[in-house]
């Protein structure tokens, strides 16, 4: 809010989604792949099976190139991106969870070193040492998930943290364990989905079938665990969140469709996995590729749902997606949003429209763009001045409802009772609201000119 606002035509949220989803596709493989490789090599040592050993070896190069290079950089990328798009929220998270992140970093050191060590010590150490290294790797990788899941789920369901501001209340929030179970399943299914390609490179037909079946087993088990975790997660969500994308008439139809995509893509993945498990000899790479794409779709869509249903908050019941705190609504209504949003305010030349543009930049641009994602120009195109007046008045009144605690239920805001349950309330002085209206109306003018010209 009081930070500079990055002009990004695609929308900051979309950028975060691209970086974050790309990262989780890789990072969850880094965890599940660690377990799969550890199990495969353990089996190879016990059974003295060279095909299993070769699979572990081939997959370990994949693990290094994908996880320690791309995974590490894209992980930093999430930090970079959220710091650019949501600096206030990032700061709030850092202040609450710096020790959690620091602990995760401790595991990350062990994870990175053991990954590199494991790949470098093929043919150089005794099998027991090599196995110890990969099991240590998996331990570290999984523990980093155990910690980070607390912070991710906290943003959607902070639970008792809103009252206590306790680190542990935030970490062990209502969706912590369901989300952890779902992500564990995803780790397993992604391990199978990636490593089946390494399995198919086995030259011996019988051995290849065995390896493919083993990896398909990971896929099936992972899909079932992920499904169980997902349904549990939905069940654990508060009613105000569930109504956004569940039920007969969800508030945001697009998110309900995305949820359908989540379930169907997982079902499709399970079909591919069962096919590979039951008929490993006929498994071919295009099928494996389709399975991987289905896995990506499932995971990407579920992440999209999780992010989408958090709105209008970035940290539920605490901070809205535009950086305004629930606790400061009344104050900002008095002082004006531009008293806080100094970077947006400096762009105003004092005219009403430019002041309105500054208010738009401060309050709306976190989610809306002018002409791209969630285009504001398109949204206001059909509205006349009176309609806009009504909408903005209702949105501002909703701020009072948040501030008064009128819709508080069990310590949480029952957003479903609001007229705009998916939007932050409009905050600011009456003069700023009028300026915003003038600016929004000014967005319609170029279109009117274009229409006139076309006629």
């Amino acid at each position: 809010m009081d930070y500079p606002i990055w002009n990004l035509s695609m929308g900051g949220g979309v950028l975060i989604a691209i970086v974050a989803i790309t990262h989780v596709w890789v990072s969850h493989f880094a965890i599940g792949g660690g377990l799969a490789i550890a199990m495969v090599e353990t089996l190879s040592v016990r059974r003295r099976d060279p095909a299993l050993r070769n699979l572990a070896k081939r997959a370990s190069l994949m693990l290094i190139l994908i996880s320690t290079v791309f995974g590490a950089i894209s992980g930093v990328g999430i930090w970079v991106t959220i710091g650019l798009v949501q600096p206030a929220a990032t700061s709030a998270l850092i202040h609450n969870y710096v020790w959690g992140w620091a602990a995760e970093w401790g595991f990350f050191i062990l994870e990175v070193v053991t990954a590199l060590l494991y790949y470098a010590t093929w043919d150089k150490v005794r099998p027991r040492t090599h196995l110890l290294i990969i099991w240590l790797y998996f331990f570290a990788a999984y523990m980093s998930l155990v910690i980070i899941q607390g912070i991710i789920s906290f943003m959607l369901t902070p639970g008792r943290w809103v009252e206590t501001h306790s680190f542990w209340d935030g970490i062990f929030n209502p969706t912590y364990f369901p989300g952890l179970l779902m992500r564990t399943g995803i780790c397993l299914l992604l391990a199978g989905a990636y490593m089946i390609f390494a399995a198919m490179r086995e030259p011996d037909g019988d051995a290849r079938a065995r390896l493919v079946r083993l990896m398909a087993g990971f896929q099936v088990a992972g899909a079932l665990v992920a499904y169980g975790g997902y349904r549990w997660w939905e069940h654990a969500l508060p009613e105000s969140v569930r109504v956004i994308f569940l039920g007969a008439s969800p508030i945001v139809a697009a998110l309900a469709k995305t949820r359908t995509l989540v379930l169907w893509s997982l079902a499709l993945f399970l079909l591919f996995a069962l096919f590979a498990y039951l008929a490993p000899r006929v498994q071919r790479w295009p099928v494996a590729l389709l399975a991987l794409l289905a896995a990506f779709t499932f995971f990407g869509a579920s992440e999209r749902v999780r992010e989408g249903i958090r709105k209008p908050f970035v940290i539920r019941d605490f901070m809205f997606s535009n950086g305004v705190l629930v606790s400061e609504i009344a104050d900002l209504n008095q002082r004006g949003i531009l008293a806080k949003a100094t970077w947006a305010a400096r762009e105003s030349d004092g005219s009403q429209v430019s002041m309105g543009r500054a208010v738009y930049r401060a309050e709306c641009q976190a989610c809306h763009t002018l002409d791209g994602y969630l285009s504001l120009r398109k949204l206001v195109a059909p509205a006349d001045a009176d309609t806009l007046d009504t909408i903005l008045s209702v949105m501002r009144a909703e701020g009072d409802e948040y501030a008064s605690g009128k819709y508080m239920e069990n310590g949480h805001v029952a957003t479903q009772k609001l007229d705009y349950p998916h939007m932050p309330p409009l905050v600011g002085t009456p003069q700023e609201i009028q300026a915003l209206k003038a600016y929004l109306l000014s967005l319609q003018k170029p279109q009117a000119v274009e229409v006139t010209h076309a006629q």
Partner: protein, 366 residues
């Protein structure tokens, strides 16, 4: 100093005492920087090692093989200082990064490219192919990252420059301290990578490595370290006088607290030149070569402290009246310390065991 563009302090309390965050920040940044020096300096040396000179190929191979590890470690150890810095100075840092958002975000793409190019160079060299062009591009990637980091660092220290950078991001490069500061990092990295290369060459020679190649590596490394150290000392004075006047005065008025680390750093640099000048046959003077590497690490330690002090002086006028509440999260802090000790212990154990547990004759290897 009034500036209404500085965002408000985060309303949350600090989850630990500031001195602890400062200490962890400096410590982890030091480790990060040592790895970064190997990556940046090593890639530059590999790129310019030549083609036909004795030890040139071994130099390239050494750095690309080493950097396959060290880049990962540099990234890993870069996370912690970034974390601790955000707790203390997030509002300055976020603002600076947003003002040059595309460069900050683009750095990730450049880093990814540089890292993968290192692997390409590694596999090409293993296959007996030439990798110089790839190494030059890789070196350019890491130089660009160094430039971006220095620009953002300087920008977050000077809210007075934010307005001009908001008008055009390229203004971030207009700071008089930018070039000397960027060069300060580059020369230090070349000196350190050169010293490490020379030390590795002497160790290899002692273990019956190819003597001509080892001599070539050691001489190249020491020559690079010597030239870079001379340039570093000169550039250091340029950097000192490129500082804003009030910062320089604040630094000089800091008394022993600021002058001792800087003086020690400079003295170690001078001592380094003396030791470098004494080495005539590196393979026969292994101890002196090791001393060079130790002196460089020592210099980096003092310079990291000086750098941190400079930050405090730069920001002091902008933080007047800043009062941050502290509510230490003892449980989570204990969790971090416990995990850190456990993981570092396990990491060392894994490395030692991997180094020692070699299969005996006729025994199966993993």
């Amino acid at each position: 100093m009034p500036n209404n563009l500085i965002p408000a302090l985060d309303p949350a309390s600090l989850p630990g005492p500031p001195w602890l965050f400062h200490g962890l920040w400096v410590l982890t940044f030091l480790i990060h920087l040592l790895f970064v020096n190997i990556v940046l300096g090593g890639t530059l040396l590999a790129a310019f090692a030549g083609h036909t000179k004795p030890g040139a190929r071994e130099t390239q191979t050494f750095f690309v093989e080493t950097n396959a590890w060290v880049i990962s470690l540099a990234i890993t150890f870069g996370i912690a200082p970034l974390l601790f810095m955000q707790v203390l100075f997030g509002r300055f840092f976020y603002t600076a990064t947003i003002l040059v958002a595309w460069a900050w975000l683009g750095m990730l793409g450049i880093l990814t490219l540089g890292y993968y190019l290192n692997y390409v160079a590694k596999f090409r060299l293993r296959a007996g192919k030439d990798a110089r062009i790839i190494l030059i591009i890789e070196a350019l990637c890491f130089l660009a990252i160094a430039g971006i980091q220095v620009a953002i660092n300087l920008l977050h220290l000077q809210p007075g420059r934010w307005e001009s950078v908001a008008q055009g991001a390229w203004a971030a490069l207009g700071d008089p301290a930018f070039m000397p500061r960027a060069l300060h990092f580059v020369f230090a990295s070349v000196a350190m990578a050169g010293a490490v290369l020379a030390y590795v060459a002497t160790r290899r020679a002692a273990k019956d490595g190819d003597r001509a190649a080892c001599l070539g590596m050691a001489q190249f490394g020491l020559r690079a370290a010597l030239i870079a150290t001379v340039l570093e000392l000169l550039d250091g004075f340029w950097l000192l006088f490129a500082l804003p006047e009030e910062v320089l005065k604040g630094f000089m008025r800091g008394g022993p607290a600021t002058m001792v680390p800087l003086t020690l750093g400079i003295l170690l640099g001078v001592l380094l030149l003396v030791v470098l000048g004494q080495i005539t046959d590196p393979l026969a003077q292994e101890k002196k070569v090791r001393r060079v590497a130790e002196l460089i690490v020592g210099t980096v330690v003092f310079m990291v402290v000086t750098r941190h002090q400079l930050r405090t002086i730069y920001l002091a006028p902008w933080r007047t009246g800043e009062h941050t509440a502290v509510a230490t999260q003892w449980g989570p802090l204990a969790l971090f310390l416990g995990v850190f000790v456990l993981c570092v212990g396990l990491t060392i154990y894994a490395i030692l065991r991997a180094l020692k547990d070699k299969p005996g004759p006729g025994e199966e290897a993993a």
